[in-house]
Structures are given as C-alpha cells and as structure tokens.
Subunit: 464 residues, 2 copies
Amino acid sequence: MKRTEIAALYGSPETFGDTQVTVCGWARSIRDSKALGFIDLNDGSCFKGVQIVFTAEKLENYKEIASQNVGAALRVTGTLLLTPEAKQPFEIQAEEITVEGASSPEYPLQKKRHTVEYLRTVAHLRPRTNLFNAAFRVRSAAAFAIHKFFNENGFTYVHTPIVTGSDCEGAGEMFQLTTLDLVNVPKNEDGTVDYSKDFFGKQTSLTVSGQLEAECMAMAFGKVYTFGPTFRAERSYTQRHAAEFWMVEPEIAFADLNDDMDLMEAMIKYIIKDVMACCPQDIDFFNQFVDKGLKERLEHVANSDFVRISYTDAVKLLEKNNDNFEYKVSWGCDLQTEHERYLTEKEFGKPVFVTDYPKEIKAFYMRLNDDNKTVAATDLLVPGIGELCGASQREERYDVLLNRIRELGLNEEDYWWYLDLRRFGGNKHAGFGLGFERMVMYLTGISNIRDVLPFPRTTGSAEF
Amino acid sequence: MKRTEIAALYGSPETFGDTQVTVCGWARSIRDSKALGFIDLNDGSCFKGVQIVFTAEKLENYKEIASQNVGAALRVTGTLLLTPEAKQPFEIQAEEITVEGASSPEYPLQKKRHTVEYLRTVAHLRPRTNLFNAAFRVRSAAAFAIHKFFNENGFTYVHTPIVTGSDCEGAGEMFQLTTLDLVNVPKNEDGTVDYSKDFFGKQTSLTVSGQLEAECMAMAFGKVYTFGPTFRAERSYTQRHAAEFWMVEPEIAFADLNDDMDLMEAMIKYIIKDVMACCPQDIDFFNQFVDKGLKERLEHVANSDFVRISYTDAVKLLEKNNDNFEYKVSWGCDLQTEHERYLTEKEFGKPVFVTDYPKEIKAFYMRLNDDNKTVAATDLLVPGIGELCGASQREERYDVLLNRIRELGLNEEDYWWYLDLRRFGGNKHAGFGLGFERMVMYLTGISNIRDVLPFPRTTGSAEF
C-alpha cells in the first residue's frame, strides 16, 4: 500500500477518517502494557507526529514491536480514527507494523531533554528532535519564501562565484583555496609563493560577498538577487558568527536608497508572513518553548510601518540617553548593539532604518551624499536582535568612485571591471545584504547560529 | 513618474496603449536622421526591448540623445502606441529622454556579432547581449522551477556545508582551504603540515557533494534536497567541466530506485515545462539562433514516458552495434557518451534510465543487488546530451555497507556518522544528483559550460 505522509493526514483528517492508511516514520517513543501499546511516530513531513495504537490482538508481531528501541524506522498500516475529544485530532489503529530499520539502546536521542551543546555533537541525528526539526523546516520555508518573493517581483536569481581571484571585496578576512602541496609549497626566487603553479594560476579565496558581481548582473537585468554561501575567516567564538553562512544580496538598477528600503521592508514582511502561514506548528513550538514573545513580535513587525531616521538624528536621540550606555554616543562613532536595540525597542518599538552614516565607518562603494560627509547607506534594526540588514545606494559616478578607491589605498587595477559599470551606462542603483541565518534566528527565537545551520562551520570546528 | 518595466508592457500592451509610461534601460542601438531617431531600449526585465521613437520636434535635447553611444542608460517618458501591423506590437513615442549614465565609443558590445570567446573576456558586460541575457534568465527560471517542484512535493530544502573536514565523499579531487601562511607553512616534527594551527584545527576542503549530509537530513524529514555550489579540482579543459558548479541532490527515505526514477522523471518534465512557459521569448531565441531542434526536443522529452532498461540488457543491445563504436562494449565496462547517445537517440528516441550497473564501476554507498554483482544505480540518458542525472538507492544495511568500505580500503573512522544512520532507524532510501549547468545547457542548447555560468571558474581561470 502506498505510503501517506503525516502532513497529508493533518491537512485533511476528515478525508482519511475511518480509512486505511500506511505511514512510515521514526518512533519518538514506544510505550506498552501487556497487550496494548502506543507509538509516537514522526516522519518529518510536518512538525507533529501521529499516535499509533497497537494491540496484541491485531498484531502477530506485537512483542517484536513493543520491544523496539526509540529511533526505529517503522512502516504502519492501520485505520485512521478521528478523535475530536482528544488532544490529537486523530490516531491510527495499527493492523500491521513492520520494522524497516531497528534502533538500539545506544541511540543518542532517548526520550529526555538534551542540551543543545550535546546535540551539536550528534548533528547527524539532531534534526530528529523537535527543536532542530522545527528549526530546519523553518529554514527551508524561509529560503523558499525568499525565492518566491523575488520571483513574484520580477527579479532574476544569479549565482555569483564562490571562488574569487581578488580580495577586493574588502568585507573581512578570507579563506585561501589551493591545490598546491603544502608540504612543499612552490616558491618564486624572491621567496613568495609561486601561484602560477596553483589550480587557477593565481591566488584565490572564498567569497565574502557576491555584491560586486551582482551589480554587473543588475546592469543587465535591472533587478537581481543572489542567495548562496559566503565565508569569513575571522576567529570568533560568539553566538552570532559562523565561518560559512548564507547571504541574500539583491541589487536594483534605476533605484535609490528609498527604493531599497521599500524593498527590504516588503521582503522582511513577506518572509515573516509566509513562514508563519507555512509553519504554524513549528512557530507555535518556538513560541512555547524557546521564546515566549516570538509570535507577538513577528506579527508586530509584519504589520508595522518601519521608521526611517538619519544617523545624525538618531545620534541626537541617543546622546540624550548616554548615561545609560556603556559606550557613549557621539557623531562619527559606529553604533553598538546596545544603541541599535535602544532605538528599535525603546525609542520606536518597531523596526527602524537608520540612514546616511558617516562615510568613514562605511564601505568604499557607498554613494557619497551631497554633504560630502555621509553616505547613502542604511542599517535595518529590528526589536529583539538589532541589525538585520545592511544596505546602500552604490556610488555610480566614475570619478567619485575612483577617488574613494584611491583615498582608501585600494588597488585600482583590481576594480577595472567594477569601474567599467560606471563607464558604460551606469545609473543610480542600490542593494542590500541579509544574513540568512540571522533571519532564521529571528524567525525562531534561537539564539545561537550553530543551531540554525545543519552542519555549522565555526572557528576550530568543521565536523561531519 | 514611476518607472514601468518592459516585461509589464509585453504582459498587457492593451492596458498601456495610448497612455504615458516611463521606461528605463540600456540602448542596444541608436539610429537617427535629421529630426527623427529610433532607440532599441532593453531593461532586462524580459528578453525583448522596446522601440523608442524620438523627434527634434518633441525633444529639446534631441541632439544630445541622438549622439549617445550604444550602452547608455536612458530614462524615457512617452506615449505607448500600439502597432498591430508592425513586427513589434508597440513602440513608445518619446516626450522626454534623460541620460542616466552615458556610454562611450569604447563600449565593448557594439552592434555587431561577437564570438563567445571574446565575450567571456567581458563577463561583467556580456549579460547585456541577447545570448547571455537569455541564458542567465533561463538559468534563473530553471532554479526557481526546481525550488517550486520540490516545495510542491513536500521536500525540505537543506543547506549542506561547503567546507568539509574529511575527503570521504570520494567523488573527485578537492580544493584545500586554509588560513595558514603558505610562505611559512607550520610543520610537525615529522615534516607533515601542522593543521592544528589552521582555522578549523584540521585539514579542510571544498565539498564535492552534499549527499552524505543530505542522507542525515532525509532520515529526519523524509524528503529533502540540496541545491548549492560544489567543486572539483580536476584539471580539465573540456566544454562540459567547470571547477565550480551547482548541483541539485534530492534524497528520499522509505523509497527505492523505482521511486527515485519516478521522482527524476517528474522533476525533469516539470523543469522543462515550467521554463518553456516562463521564458518563451528566450527559448524561441535559442531555437532560432543556437540550436534549431531545441524546442522540438524539449517538448518531446516533456511528453515522453522514459524508458527503463537494465545495464545488462543495454549491453546486449549495444554489443550488436559494436562495429560502429570507437569503444567496444562488453559487460563490465563503463558506458561512454557514444553508447549513451546511441541508446537514447537511436535505439529508443527518448530518455532512458539504464539501471543496475556493475558494482565495480559505481560508488561504495550504492545498494548491492541480490546478484552480488550489480548495484541499484541508474543514469538518466537524454537525447542530445547523454547523461543528465546519476542516481542510486543507498546501501541501508550496516554490515553490507561496512564491508564495502573495508573492501575499497576507505577509512572506516571517517564514516562513523554515516554508518550511524544505518544503526538507528535506517531504511531503504535513494537519491540522485543533477548537475544544474548541464540542465541549463540542455534547456538552451548552449554547448559550453562557460557560457551558462555568470562568472565561470575553470582550470587556470578565475577572473572577475
């Protein structure tokens, strides 16, 4: 008999009421008394499992089933019984149960509470727990929501390269990649590495951002986005940093910072609404067991008009509160998380775009404002987390961009193709970066990035 | 006035007929006589551009516009005039044109035919040509079709890691990544590299496949897929190999090779139908200028029942034709492209699954058949290209898998977590790999992988 997924049963229990179904999944728990047993069977098609009732009367192999260990893979055929008065809306009364794959008493996910630290050591099994099953389902739903949002809005999805031949992105420390023999690295006469013998004939690294390449594509398609892995070789042991993570980087032509903020606001709201609609059981779980204020906060953000305030005005507001900050604020300083959270949580109580930062604390490619002091950049701050996205209008003026590159002592030759975009049909354009894991943390209330990445790569750790 | 995208005009020309619109884009060509000019303006929102008619009578800056170079970014406001009798369904009669960004006579994409070899040297600009604009639009549409297909069918999307700590995937040569100083590589006393000083505290590489990690996730979610970049450090100069490319790798639990073939067949048909529906202008272009038989072939594949034949039976068929093959076929040999194409093009004239290959020519994780000689693996062969997907049922029996690992001299310890999946609730499961670029080549008729990757990375080349 063809297998039915548990998600389908929850989708329309009435359809399946009193009919025979076959379900396959893993036993989360098995309880039995003499001739009656209960299995909590989960197949991962949705957050919830289904209760299997099995009896010695109906099952020849009752004893075999009753003696299975937690984690066993079972195939169950039985009749679905609607139980409107019970906690679960239905159960399955088994007529046949076969063991697809046994488990053992050594199964690491016994029916008790485990710490997330322990569960990271069994990353190959932890997606079978409630917490990680829900986290990775939300991650999947959020990824699809992002693709849907951009598709519905006419964006072209572009795969910018992971391998990069120059370190001109300037967003952080990079991993080098090589096929050279590290025991005997070939050298030039002056003692430097002879990269002509390396795979690409030059030094190469893993990308820290697809933005510069995305700009090339935006100058052909008008609206593009990237969504792929990026890398930082920064030795960091915080809860918020991983060496490998996914980024979403849209880029829009014929658009300024206001258009960019409109886009960000629409995207964040879309993701929240879509994930809440697609994963209600998971969000309920997080709201109950991980972060009590989660649903309220998400709903609030999805229905707020985001505030827009200049850095200069934000600094004025923050200065009034300097007594309460560890780091005192003054014009020119970078905002710390305490300041960001004050603005979005205390001052406004909703998401805030802080715009037009001092050029000294922002990247070379951001558009210089007419005041010659600030750039058309913005950070999106949200309650509960602080910065969620960073954005800017890009410098489209060839001379101004070239000046900035020289001012900062960057290597002009590395940017020939990026400068070309300003020589041939350049135009006002803008984009932003969303750290995807940060978005998933925001959607779930999970506070450690290691727990929203299936197999996290962090300083000193690349297991599985 | 708010900008309208050209795709929206093509979407419902009647709506816009005789109304004023503003479009922004890049001039593909500019022609003018004394007081009348024509611009072919393209904004990348769809394959086709729109003809702008501009006159000295209406435009104060007529001369400025007429003297613009190809590639200039323009903003045009004018009245859309339906032209049912002409080749294009409408044109825009300009009332105002402003130059957002000029171009120059040095613009590399002058109005003439360029070789693809030349265009690869200007990869930052080539998406503005018909060929590459269409190629990358189809690439985007195909990517979205894949996400939609799996989402509609209840799959969870998983991001398997790019950085891998072991070389146990065994699918090809790998890139090493490191933060060590290659001029002074730290060494152990025995002269080997001291990886304890490296970023992850061990030797790490770029993944060649997400399959093993995807299997972990399938054992929790039932049905998962990966879609991300993978890497091969193989020195190869063919038209079909890149060092960095994207792969789709679904994995399904409680499923055998037949379920896997059903899934592959459904996915391929879905992608073809979806892309043909979403990108008709692009597909028409490829059909006309790149590959005359393209549309017919795609439609044929989308509507065929795929053939399923065992390797053993396929070899019997091929042996009859050995006179015509460069490489003679006999049981036990790997099939070459000439054999694959003979089967799918000559023998059957439609897609073919060849199943149950000799275990010696396939990977260690493929399920051993009862004959002890073959494994439950299949390659999907399609007319015009040969192999499109490789698939297998995975060995779910702990002892059999362990035997294979030992037989092949692999390092058992590397596989502890992969073996664990067989100790705790293992079950029949299967999956396949689709090289995404190969799919895009198949959809477009483009014969070189360098031309379906926005910024290709190949042996000796990592530009931009």
